[in-house]
């Protein structure tokens, strides 16, 4: 495969040797050569202004100083400081785990926090929690970084500077004197599902009967709420059971990565897609996913049949499908889709009545939600694959309306005291709701937040808020089951308070938040409360708290008529894949995490279809001016394959101006053009090139690997059944590296590309586990990101509707590792268990290994990336070396976890059992696509997976004998549609 093309430039028409040389040294030719041969270094070369003379100087100095990099000063004499009284359960050196729950948008995600001597170092999913099942998403994994953020708000502040809670409370009491009975006292919270919080707010509203409570989330579920009102006249939450579903139709709903229940949904959905021929022997079967989508998402990438529409057209399609299913969807509409698509999907759904799911997206209109309810009911899915439960949020409202009402009251001067608990509404309010301006009209305002953000800047008081890892509480999950929020550590900054504590204090309740939460659940306990409480705290989940399914009757409301199709340019607003609504803008891990599909870091963009880019003469990085409804914003273009034409997607959360740490001023603020009347998509927009350009830093811009076009093997289910051995398997060739025997353990990994949804949770999990640095936008631009496991994305087929594949790539742990041969100092060597070990203290930084790695998985510390902020030191995993500048690093298969398991097993006089060692990536993976184990254990899961016919090694012809192999991507398209399309 690697017939490295080293063509001499321009030899054909060369006159003589001289001509040839001058050609080679001409800028363009040289760059072309450089780009081809040394892609990773080309960017650096182009950027540097190095002439030959300086180059020689630098190289000379490098040569002279070689080896100095290995010299580190001796550690100072350290003291040993034991406890006065060792806390319960603490054994120095052994971690302790606590179950808790991460709140996001009012929904809880079960978590387990690892602590070392009291310091939280890592967060993972909670196996007992229904939304997690032990897996996690990128937000959960990265949330621990926010706890230790060096810019956190640590003290009560107002315009005069540092203050105290006493000063705030007395000022508040004075202000409340102007608000008899709470007339003029307004509370603005984020979405609330916590029973204890609800009880405290109720108590507050009882103490101040005229006080008002408003809620706002910029990424809200207004459509689902209004859709349920339309369908049933009452709010319900919908829970989907993908494990029961054979056919799924997603109506612009990215249920795999961006819903409150996504981690669970992804697991359940993928459990219906794991084709195991060697194990079952029977003819394999798979579920089928039809995805209608506007902006490309993981769900569309995984879908068996995808239909690309503009966001506004999805409702029309939903009506058409409804009609084909015999559900009243209003008048029949034609749209820019193949009518066969609708009939084929409807037929498939009907053939699987009772075992199908129609799932609408948060970003679709209430009508789509109402239609989905009606279609699921008509198909008999309600009660089997779909259940309706009472609303999870304590007080469900349409949040945009709620914020509008509050802002109106503020403008009218009705608001005397405004307490904003969490959130950042001054930044995230829709463009036509001038919350920030109205704040000026409020005589007393305070903002409780972790960072001093845009809202804090405009409020009179900034109050420090605890991180969820520091507070007591409770919260409901997507399915309504309750779990506890338990702090493994007290507040890092003693002045910080939780929203619950603040409200309780205001209501005159002087119990601690722990007592409040306990009191809430005292009534729920069956039998002995103390054991119930301890069990709930241990598991994190409150047993049996999931609500009964509702049986609600359709209200029979007529749906509003379909709006005529708008042929103008449509702007689609979406939460950002990594920093969401802006709440994670300060989180360096999430900022640097490549966004699924675009691989963009540190920025947001205006994504458009390739055809549109060509038509408008735009290319990546061109800055355009987007105008919606008279408001404009400047945004850089990203040409995204599979994006609908005549539409542009912008993501929320960027353009922060305060309290976003390193993310401050990154990207542009899409809220500035987001209308309140059409939160998610708006027609009639205009886009104009400005002539400016902007650098977008993406990963995977340059080829990491030679011959990467063969990296992903793909087949449809029927092709696979016809020819199970379809993957490319090279013939065994002689290798100069001698065979080695592995007598004890032989570690290996299998990655199922069918199951990979490209969510990037593995990357963050690895970053957290292995103390991996973030490097910043500038370094990502020159391909110096440090992630040990990356998720590559490949497109195949036409640009406007390509097939999309994801491929997680960690170190392959080659048995015949090319990197090992070239290291001059034996810093990378093979272990007796087959690991390709990296010895940091031997490494002198020649980078030969990385040049010789065909998979491009090695990462070099070009600079001293270790964050100097002292507070971050406490977060590091003490079991993994923090690498210094000048040292190569790469995936170790989480060797620290292997060591730990080996020592434990050894202590107990046994071998390590299958599943006992789980690398961080495999533990985090929502779909369990990554399986790790001992290849010497014939019964291990990984051995079974590697026996499947679709198992293959990436770049197998390189003859590196990698320990990590892949299961080919198999999908199950509706043949009726593929044949009609082609």
């Amino acid at each position: 495969m690697s017939n490295a093309t080293f063509d001499r430039p321009d030899t054909a028409d060369a006159q003589d040797q001289r001509q040839n040389l001058s050609n080679l040294s001409s800028e363009e030719e040289f760059e072309a050569l450089l780009t081809r041969e040394q892609p990773r270094h080309a960017a650096v070369w182009k950027r540097s202004q190095l002439d030959r003379r300086s180059f020689m100087k630098v190289m000379g100095a490098t040569l002279a100083l070689t080896g100095l990099a290995g010299c580190t000063p001796r550690p100072p004499d350290q003291p040993i400081v034991p406890y006065v009284r060792t806390p319960e359960f603490v054994i120095p050196g052994n971690p302790i785990f606590f179950a808790t729950t991460m709140p996001m948008g009012g929904y809880g995600m079960g978590a387990v926090i690892e602590t070392h001597e009291g310091r939280p170092t890592r967060i993972e999913g909670n196996p007992f929690h229904p939304a997690s099942l032990g897996s996690s998403d990128r937000f959960l994994l990265a949330s621990i970084l926010d706890l230790y953020h060096p810019d956190r708000l640590t003290d009560v502040r107002n315009a005069d500077g540092l203050q105290s809670w006493d000063a705030f409370n007395s000022a508040l009491q004075t202000a409340l004197a102007d608000a008899p009975n709470g007339q003029g006292l307004y509370l603005l919270t984020e979405a609330v599902s916590s029973p204890t919080m609800k009880a405290q707010i109720d108590a507050l509203l009882a103490a101040y009967p005229d006080a008002q409570w408003h809620q706002y989330e910029p990424v809200n579920e207004d459509s689902a709420f209004l859709g349920a009102q339309l369908a049933f006249d009452e709010p319900v939450n919908t829970v989907y059971h993908f494990d029961q579903a054979d056919v799924v139709l997603a109506l612009d709903g990215d249920f795999l990565t961006s819903m409150p229940g996504s981690v669970r949904y992804a697991r359940d959905f993928m459990d219906g897609r794991r084709v195991r021929m060697a194990a079952d022997g029977a003819a394999p079967a798979m579920n089928r996913l039809y995805a209608v989508e506007s902006t490309p998402t993981s769900t569309g990438a995984v879908a068996d049949n995808r239909l690309i529409l503009r966001a506004s057209e999805v409702e029309l399609l939903a009506r058409a499908v409804a009609q084909a299913l015999g559900v009243d969807g209003g008048a029949a509409v034609d749209g820019p889709w193949d009518p066969n698509w609708v009939s084929a999907v409807a037929e498939d759904l009907q053939a699987h009545a009772g075992s199908s799911i129609i799932i609408p997206g948060r970003e679709q209109s209430p009508v789509v939600h109402a239609l989905a309810h009606a279609m699921n009911a008509a198909l008999g899915n309600v009660g089997s694959t779909v259940t309706l439960i009472p609303p999870v949020l304590a007080n469900p409202v349409a949040m945009v309306e709620d914020l509008q009402a509050l802002t109106d009251a503020m403008t009218a001067g009705d608001v005397k005291v405004l307490l904003v608990l969490g959130g950042n509404p001054a930044y995230s309010a829709p463009a036509d709701i001038d919350f920030a301006g109205a704040l000026g009209q409020v005589p007393f305002s305070a903002h409780l937040s972790q960072m001093q953000d845009e809202t804090s800047m405009l409020c009179m008081w900034s109050l420090p808020q605890t991180h969820f890892i520091e507070e007591w509480g409770d919260i409901l999950a997507y399915d309504g089951s309750a779990s506890l929020v338990q702090p493994p550590i007290g507040p890092l900054y003693p002045d910080a308070k939780s929203a619950l504590e603040l409200i309780a204090g205001l209501a005159g309740d002087d119990r601690t938040s722990y007592d409040l939460v306990r009191a809430t659940w005292e009534s729920a306990a069956n039998g002995d409360f103390e054991s119930f409480w301890r069990r709930s705290l241990h598991n994190g989940v409150i047993e049996g708290s999931a609500p009964e399914a509702l049986s609600v009757q359709p209200a029979g409301n007529a749906l509003p008529e379909a709006a005529p199709m708008d042929n103008g340019l449509e702007v689609i607003f979406r939460p950002d894949a990594t920093i969401w609504d802006g709440r994670f803008a300060a989180n360096g891990w999430l900022q640097e995490l490549p966004k699924p599909l675009t691989q963009l870091t540190w920025d947001n963009m205006a994504a458009i279809a390739p055809a549109m880019a060509t038509a408008m003469g735009l290319s990546r990085g061109d800055v355009v001016e987007l105008s919606v409804d008279g408001r404009t914003v400047k945004a850089p273009i990203y040409v995204q394959q599979g994006h609908p034409n005549n539409a542009v997607t912008v993501t929320l959360g960027y353009g922060r101006t305060a309290g976003a740490g390193a993310g401050t001023d990154a990207g542009f603020n899409a809220y500035a053009i987001r209308p309140s009347g059409a939160q998610w998509n708006m027609g009639g927009a205009a886009m104009q090139a400005t002539g400016e350009t902007y650098v977008l830093a993406t990963t995977q811009d340059f080829p990491y690997m030679e011959g990467a076009h063969d990296a992903v093997e793909v087949a449809t289910l029927s092709e696979f059944i016809a020819d199970p051995e379809f993957v490319h398997k090279p013939e065994k060739v002689v290798n100069i590296i001698p065979e080695k025997e592995y007598n004890s353990y032989k570690w290996g990994m299998s990655i199922d590309l069918t199951a990979c949804i490209g969510c990037n949770a593995c990357t963050i999990a690895c970053q957290s586990e292995n103390n991996i640095s973030t490097v910043g936008k500038h370094e990502v631009e020159i391909n110096r990101e440090m992630h040990w496991i990356r998720v590559d994305r490949y497109y195949e087929g036409p640009e406007d509707d390509p097939a999309t594949y994801f491929q997680p790539v960690p170190c392959m742990q080659c048995e015949k590792a090319p990197c090992e041969m070239v290291c001059p100092v034996q810093a990378t060597v093979h272990s007796s268990e087959g690991l390709n070990q990296m010895v940091y203290n031997r490494c002198v930084g020649t980078r030969y290994c990385s040049a010789n790695c065909p998979y491009g998985v090695r990462r070099f510390n070009f600079l001293d990336f270790v964050d100097p902020a002292l507070v971050l030191v406490d977060m590091r995993n003490p079991d993994v070396t923090v690498r210094a500048r000048g040292v190569m690093e790469k995936c170790t298969y989480c060797v620290q976890r292997i060591s730990e398991a080996r020592i434990r097993a050894n202590r107990e006089g046994r071998m390590i059992e299958d599943g006992e060692v789980t690398p961080a990536c495999a533990a985090a993976c929502p779909t369990q696509a990554i399986v790790f184990g001992d290849l010497n254990d014939a019964e291990s899961r990984v051995v079974k997976l590697k026996q499947e016919p679709q198992d293959y090694a990436m770049l197998a012809d390189e003859n590196t004998v990698p320990r990590t192999t892949y299961l080919a991507r198999i999908y199950n398209p509706n043949e009726q549609l593929t044949s009609s399309e082609s």
């Binding site: 406890y83 006065v84 007796s832 070990q837 202590r907």
Partner: protein
Amino acid sequence: MSQQLFKPGANNLAKVSILAGGLITALVLGFILVTVRSPFTKAPVGIPVPQPVRFSHELHAGTLNVDCRYCHSSAEVSPYGGIPDTHTCMSCHSQIATYSELLEPVRNSYASDERLVWNRVHAVGQYVYFNHSAHLNNGIGCETCHGRIDQMPIVWRNETMTMRWCLDCHFEPEKYIRPLDEVYTMGWTPPIPQSELGPQLVAEYDIHKDGLTDCAVCHR
């Protein structure tokens, strides 16, 4: 012919100085390397380290024969041997020698909740992840690394604790291994010659010698 600037001898001088220059550089570099790596300059072996409390292992572990694990309780189950907390000291010393002058810092710590600050005696390199439990559960005695603690009034480091010293045993554990029930014994002598007992125990405890020299065993 113009005047020669250099006399004929200058040639030899040049040759000698080139040679001498190279030689001196090599010597200096060699000296530095030897010095840096020498256990004598690196490890303070045999030097008692003063501690805030004049605790005597000779008395406690020797004369009184207190089990190592009474105080170093995490050694068997965790990477760290564990330094006892003040409460562990006081569990005996609230009964025995309650008013001893030597115990004043301990009593102060107990009363004021201020931690005692001990001085580290044993340390391995910064990149090393040493695990006490892995050694104790595989028949490496305390004495092997820490020496005759029961004879030290004030503890000193008995071994260099350099990588070479570690590897001596990781290459040939049979030279040092002892039965599991003798791990905490001080002054143990093998009942049969170590050259016979060692290989037996290595086999019995299922110690994979080739794995012991994997880099990742200690470095990660």
